[in-house]
Symmetry: C2
Subunit: 222 residues, 2 copies
């Protein structure tokens, strides 16, 4: 399978790329607005995987070209770039693709991080509105600490939550998630349940901030 | 220590009562609007603890009398009864007491449970507004599945999140939480971070609903 990581030079893109690079045979397409940066990141991620004893196929492109070549397109960009990024790649998407959104709307205030969704109700809903109707959208990978994901020496043993209205797309993304060693995919229901999933991201940051010896936190449902 | 469980005839009150009854020597005061119901519940909880080989002191009172006798007052009532319950016991509270709120505002919709806070921003904020200023308020025990808590044959191995602006009160409640076997207390910061903590409750229900073999879910930060 070909997986595009749009905005893949960022930290969550790096984390997913090196995990999938080490743990699977999927072809990874790092996207960026700047294809030079994408190629440099791709080379660096392949190097990280090689250092961990793996052999990854990672290539760099501009976002539209990465999306065009991919079966699964992950919007690994900050919430405020989601709409722009979708607009830039929209014409390359069709009903056979799956768009995955891991971003959570947050606001940093003096006392902590707070959930701050866009007016659509969640970043996931914003993506659903922006992407052509026939292209399935899946929310996943919101609650993964990017630093921990990118550090292949760290074991995961955590869960990621998946929201989707399209069962096949949900199954595809859950399978991709579970191909990452130590990651379990759990369904949190339909796209309309995305806000509660995205809210977990600021909560994880608040818990990490307020407890000694807990950082790069994940969560396990049990 | 004396712990009042107002609305303690309900399911979360039962769960906390039997866990503290089995695992600690604290005196448990079950409160209800109807003192007869409170006494019957207290007797039943003491019986549950005795069946598990423990020996608990559990008494039943009307809510105001339970609150008056207690050092820690847990508002184990549904969100829509929180304001009424505080009003009924307010005159018994002083700066030496700690008020604990475990409720989360939720709305059940066709597609799942959604976080639906009162206009104060969170149930915790509503309690903070309703309780006299000098009485510390702590949010805790939101994310515990009541059925699992009440079933003493089930091991916990899960976390509860604590929010508070008063460090001493937070420490008291965290200690009480950790005296329950298998429960770890983690700080999620100040009261203003309560909404993200309360949002975890509908998320847990959605995850339990959408995955086979997962029910009465708890969460572990790792």
């Amino acid at each position: 399978m070909r997986i595009a990581l749009l905005g893949g030079t960022g930290d969550i893109g790096e984390g997913l790329a090196v995990r999938w690079g080490r743990d699977t045979d999927h072809e990874l397409l790092v996207g960026s607005r700047d294809p030079e940066k994408a190629r440099a990141a791709a080379e660096s991620y392949a190097g990280t995987v090689a250092d961990a004893g793996g052999d990854a196929t990672v290539k760099g492109f501009d976002n539209a070209m990465a999306a065009d070549r991919a079966d699964v397109v992950v919007l690994a960009v900050p919430p405020y770039h989601v709409a722009d990024t979708v607009e830039a790649v929209e014409s390359t998407l069709d009903a056979d693709d799956v768009v995955v959104t891991p971003a959570a709307g947050m606001k940093r205030e003096d006392d902590g991080f707070h959930y701050h969704p866009p007016s659509a109700g969640s970043v996931t809903a914003l993506v659903r509105d922006a992407v052509p109707d026939e292209v399935p959208v899946v929310g996943a990978f919101h609650n993964l600490a990017a630093g921990r994901l990118a550090d292949l020496s760290q074991e995961l043993g955590i869960d990621t939550l998946v929201v989707a209205d399209d069962d096949d797309a949900a199954a595809t993304v859950s399978r991709l998630a579970e191909e990452i060693e130590g990651l379990r995919a759990l369904s949190a229901g339909g796209l309309s349940n995305a806000a509660e999933v995205e809210s977990l991201t600021p909560l994880l940051i608040n818990v990490a901030t307020n407890n000694d010896d807990l950082h790069d936190l994940g969560v396990r449902f049990d």
